[in-house]
């Protein structure tokens, strides 16, 4: 278990397929500081670099140059599974966050073991089971009475609620949400968003939430950033966010996208 940590990106740059015709610069020298406990929503079009940024923080791949610091420590060179002890993640696909043929209690036991080395103790202990019941009952889905059910029997919404609980139950230093409500129907997505808000605010988790939905991005969180072509092009704090509408964001988006198009045209000329 760890306390919420400050996240810093320093001149973070990621180039895919460098020195080939397929070279893509996905992140261009990103500098970003997220204080401990801040909830940041991230928007941007496809290919803007928002998912790449999350994956670079989580360690799915290494940065081409620059640094990722968590709680003041440079984790840029640490492998994914080591970073994962400090970072909770929820993915878009509800199937990604849980092991389907294992039971609810086994999945949660795995999540509780996050920050510890796994040994030859019993995975699902009675002490852990009690903790699971308390946490599951807060989801309001009745899962606390189905501890021995296989996760594949659950609905997409239930599985995503499980994923969210599993990502946060061991109190990670950082929570990364990658469009975690995008694959759910609107009503279930609303439920999951409410749960997210409740868990993040209660534990004051440092959180980055990528979303396609500008309304959600404006309604939730302490800060909003917009990315485009591998850069942060807009950064609004809680106060600034308050006065902004979806229409404003769309306008801003067209402005930066238009600029990019203009630059492209200049290059072509």
């Amino acid at each position: 278990m760890s306390a919420p940590a400050t996240l810093e990106l320093r001149a973070a740059r990621k180039v895919f397929f460098p020195n080939t015709v397929n070279e893509v610069v996905a992140l261009r020298e990103i500098d970003l500081e997220v204080p401990a406990g801040q909830f940041v929503t991230v928007i941007g079009s496809n290919g803007s670099g928002k998912s790449t940024m999350l994956n670079a923080i989580a360690g799915t791949f290494r940065l081409s140059s620059g640094h990722v610091l968590l709680g003041g420590r440079d984790i840029s060179k640490r492998p994914e599974h080591v970073r994962s002890r400090l970072i909770g993640r929820v993915f878009q696909d509800p199937r990604a966050g849980t092991a389907p043929s294992m039971t609810i209690e086994e999945n949660l036991a795995l999540a509780l073991m996050r920050s510890t080395r796994s040994g030859l103790r019993r995975g699902v202990s009675n002490r852990r089971r009690e903790l699971m019941r308390v946490q599951l009952s807060r989801l309001g889905m009745g899962l606390e009475d189905r501890l021995r059910a296989q996760v594949l029997k659950l609905s997409g919404g239930q599985r995503q609620a499980m994923s969210l609980l599993m990502a946060t139950i061991a109190e990670p230093g950082l929570l990364l949400l990658d469009e975690h409500t995008a694959a759910l129907d609107p009503k279930v997505a609303g439920t999951i968003m409410d749960l997210t808000e409740a868990i993040v605010s209660e534990r004051a988790l440092t959180t980055l939430m990528v979303t396609h939905n500008m309304e959600i991005a404006l309604r939730h969180g302490d800060r909003l950033i917009m990315m485009h072509a591998g850069r942060v092009v807009l950064d609004l704090d809680r106060e600034e966010k308050r006065g902004v509408t979806v229409a404003d964001l769309v306008a801003k988006f067209h402005e930066v996208a238009g600029e990019a198009l203009a630059v492209d045209r200049m290059l072509l000329d």
């Binding site: 989580a58 994914e80 795995l110 796994s118 030859l120 103790r121 995975g123 296989q150």
Partner: protein, 300 residues
């Protein structure tokens, strides 16, 4: 008829450890591991060689098992070297290749260990003689079945305990959803290496026991092990249809016995022994393709 049944029971139990090993790789780790065709004769080769050199059959069997564990871990390490990225968890190419390479290498290792292609174990004490002496019983086909059944139950309970430890749960999750368990901070390369080690240790245990029961180790005795193992796993799952891991482990033992009974019956009705491997292969193909075919038929 009674001799056919005792012999099939004995064979089924002797090979049940191998089938448990195949279950661990194929079902728990989602790793179709071909190492088993080499680790079964490795267990036999090491054990037989040590016994004819005057070592205690207990020690010989134990070292045989250790050899299997080592072989499995080699496959795990080769897989780490051969796979292209962390994310291609559903790519079976590197997994198959790692197993094939170890299996091929083991053929030489087994010949080197034995110094020739066949070692008879005649006129020497084997582990079953020791067990008989220890329990003050005469080893007959029936008492052998009883001894093997007790051993199989002990091993199954140990395996069940292992799979429900923290490490065991991480291993199960590695085969079930690797991306998830990596995101929970588990080094899946390590869980796979150890899982492959445990599985091939079990396979080598079968090899060691089979050699001591039949009275010889032969370099060719591993051919078709993977297919026979799969047949046992599938028969167990189909016949005893299971939900929990505990129940599945026991189903697999049952599957191994039924498979050997089927073979015994086939031989009795006049099937040529040399046709058995093809029959087994066809059996596995049918059993594995039934779900796919059924899905296609339903869709139409």
């Amino acid at each position: 008829m009674s001799t056919v049944i005792t012999s099939a029971l004995g064979q089924g139990l002797l090979y049940s450890f191998m089938v448990l090993g195949v279950f661990i790789t194929f079902r728990v780790l989602d790793f179709p591991d071909l190492t088993v065709d080499g680790s079964l004769p490795l267990g036999a080769a090491v054990t037989a060689t040590l016994i004819v050199h005057g070592q205690s059959p207990w020690l010989a069997t134990l070292v045989g098992v250790a050899g299997g564990i080592g072989a499995g871990m080699v496959t795990g390490v080769l897989h780490i070297l051969l796979k292209t990225g962390q994310s291609d968890t559903n790519n079976y190419g590197p997994k198959l290749l790692a197993g094939i390479l170890t299996m091929t290498g083991l053929y030489t290792v087994n010949l080197r260990v034995m110094g020739r292609s066949n070692i008879p174990l005649l006129g020497v004490q084997v582990v079953f003689d020791k067990i008989g002496h220890l329990l003050s019983i005469l080893i007959t086909p029936w008492t052998l079945v009883a001894v093997l059944a007790v051993l199989a139950i002990i091993v199954t309970f140990l395996l069940d305990w292992f799979l429900h430890t923290e490490f065991g749960l991480c291993m199960q999750a590695t085969g079930d959803n690797e991306q998830m368990i990596r995101a929970l901070g588990t080094n899946t390369d390590l869980t796979r290496v150890i899982g492959l080690g445990v599985a091939n240790g079990l396979v080598a245990l079968s090899g060691a026991l089979v050699a001591q029961q039949q009275g010889f180790a032969d370099v060719g005795m591993g051919i078709g092990t993977i297919v026979a193992g799969l047949a046992g796993v599938i028969i167990g799952e189909v016949v005893f249809g299971a939900k929990t891991i505990t129940w599945l482990l026991f189903s697999v033992i049952g599957g191994s016995i039924i498979y050997r009974l089927l073979i015994a019956v086939s031989l009795r009705v006049g099937v040529n022994p040399t046709d058995l491997k093809l029959l087994t292969a066809v059996l596995v193909v049918v059993a594995l393709s039934v779900p796919t075919v059924r899905r296609k038929v339903v869709r139409v």
